[in-house]
């Protein structure tokens, strides 16, 4: 095999490898979606961040507009502080709210931004004031059980207080 022929074949081989890399990176991984070229940072404080992870998406109306870049605990207020990188092309009013939502029933958690109505927009580095924490399943269940218990015991308690000497009427 001539030297030039070999070199051409090796060049083709390397080109094939680069094509495979580009295919894997663009079509089979999340490179083409939000890459964080031009972003600004906002901070949001939550009482409970639930299952939020670094690199979780930030969505507004369901569309990914940013990523969570860091999660930390504020040692003074004991709140979870999440830093968000938002695309520069999307500005949010200063009364926008951030909630931690779950995609699907048991899916990954993300931050949902709901735009407010203020005329002033967030500047880079601002803190989102109105936030809602993640829903913790255990609290929901205990709340549900407590409500159930209150429903079952509530109506019979006032009746027993009103007519204690009439035992037949108070029975439920």
């Amino acid at each position: 095999m001539s030297k030039r022929g070999t070199e051409i074949l090796v060049g083709l081989f390397v080109l094939l490898g680069i094509a495979a890399l580009v295919f894997l990176a663009l079509r089979a991984a999340n490179l083409s979606s939000f890459n964080g070229a031009d972003t600004y940072t906002l901070t949001a404080k939550f009482d409970n961040i639930g299952g939020l992870k670094v690199r979780s998406p930030v969505r507004s109306a369901g569309v990914v507009v940013g990523r969570v870049t860091s999660i930390a605990l504020d040692p003074k207020s004991y709140q979870g502080v999440a830093k968000l990188d938002i695309e520069k092309s999307v500005q949010f009013p200063t009364d926008s709210s951030a909630r931690i939502l779950t995609s699907g029933l048991l899916g990954d958690q993300y931050i949902g931004l709901e735009a407010g109505g203020d005329e002033k927009m967030f500047a880079p580095g601002d803190t989102i004031k109105s936030t809602q924490s993640a829903v913790v399943l255990e609290s929901l269940i205990s709340q549900f059980l407590f409500n159930k218990a209150a429903d079952a015991g509530g109506p019979s308690a006032p009746a027993a207080a009103n007519a204690p000497p009439a035992p037949s009427g108070a029975k439920k």
Binding site: T6, E7, L9, V10, L12, F13, G17, A20, A29, N30
Partner: protein
């Protein structure tokens, strides 16, 4: 008490062998800049080790992609998660199977040819002749082959993964009938370029260094007889494969530990 002495000798032999390997590796690295002054040798080696391995790598990748798609479909369908076949196959290939299986195949095909070639050169006294002519055999013969292997391995691993994913697409979408849009979008959202693809590439580079070095070392240190060359060739495959699998465990534990 002979066996205590034998045990001691065995341990010392292992230590000496490790030291010899390290010294050889250092010599090889030292001669790399000199050998790369004539890049045509390295290019020819990339051709011999990479281009000529394409057939076995691509066909294995396709077959592995087919089988992975089938197996994961049967497993996931019971949980109603059949649409995630693409994601599971991609992660398996890019993180693990691509680098590891390519390294094993590379050791078997390219590693053995390297060892046999160098061993036969040694048996035919070509290496000694080169030394007599004041040509360093390490920089003239060994270093280009080492560089060729290290360059070819990551490219082969990427091609393996890419064609495996395409094979999985053929089985999952064209054969089984899953939705192509879901196949690609679930895969795209679940695979991270830096964490999965990047770590896979790092692994394949490390495995390339391991396989090429073991092949070149065994060839150079082979006994200069036909039997010695044959033994060295089998040793290349065994040592490369075991080292690759052990390093895979170490690298996976380092890279993919729970955050």
């Amino acid at each position: 008490m002979e066996w205590i002495a034998a045990l001691g000798r065995f341990a010392l032999d292992i230590l000496r062998s490790l030291g010899h390997h390290a010294a050889f590796f250092w010599e090889l690295l030292r001669t790399l800049p000199v050998s790369l002054r004539r890049p045509s040798f390295a290019v020819a080696q990339v051709h011999a080790l990479g281009n000529l391995s394409l057939l076995v790598i691509l066909s294995s990748g396709l077959a592995v992609g087919f089988v992975l798609a089938l197996q994961t479909y049967y497993a996931l369908a019971t949980y109603g998660a059949a649409d995630s076949v693409g994601l599971v196959v991609n992660l398996s290939l890019v993180r693990e199977l691509g680098p590891v299986v390519t390294a094993l195949l590379f050791a078997g095909r390219a590693g053995t040819s390297l060892t046999a070639e160098i061993g036969l050169m040694k048996a035919g006294e070509q290496l000694s002749a080169m030394e007599l002519m004041a040509v360093d055999p390490k920089s003239r013969v060994l270093a280009p082959r080492f560089v060729g292997g290290v360059v070819a391995m990551p490219i082969l691993a990427l091609l393996f993964s890419a064609i495996g994913i395409l094979g999985a697409y053929v089985v999952a979408v064209l054969l089984i009938g899953l939705d192509p849009g879901n196949f690609w979008s679930i895969m795209e959202s679940g695979v991270d370029v830096r964490r999965d693809l990047g770590n896979g590439i790092i692994k394949s580079i490390v495995f390339g260094v391991i396989c090429s070095f073991v092949a070149v070392y065994q060839g150079f240190e082979a006994k200069a007889t036909p039997e010695g060359v044959a033994r060295a060739t089998t040793r290349t495959v065994v040592i490369s494969s075991l080292t690759v699998l052990a390093m895979d465990f170490v690298l996976t534990a380092l890279m993919f530990s729970a955050r």
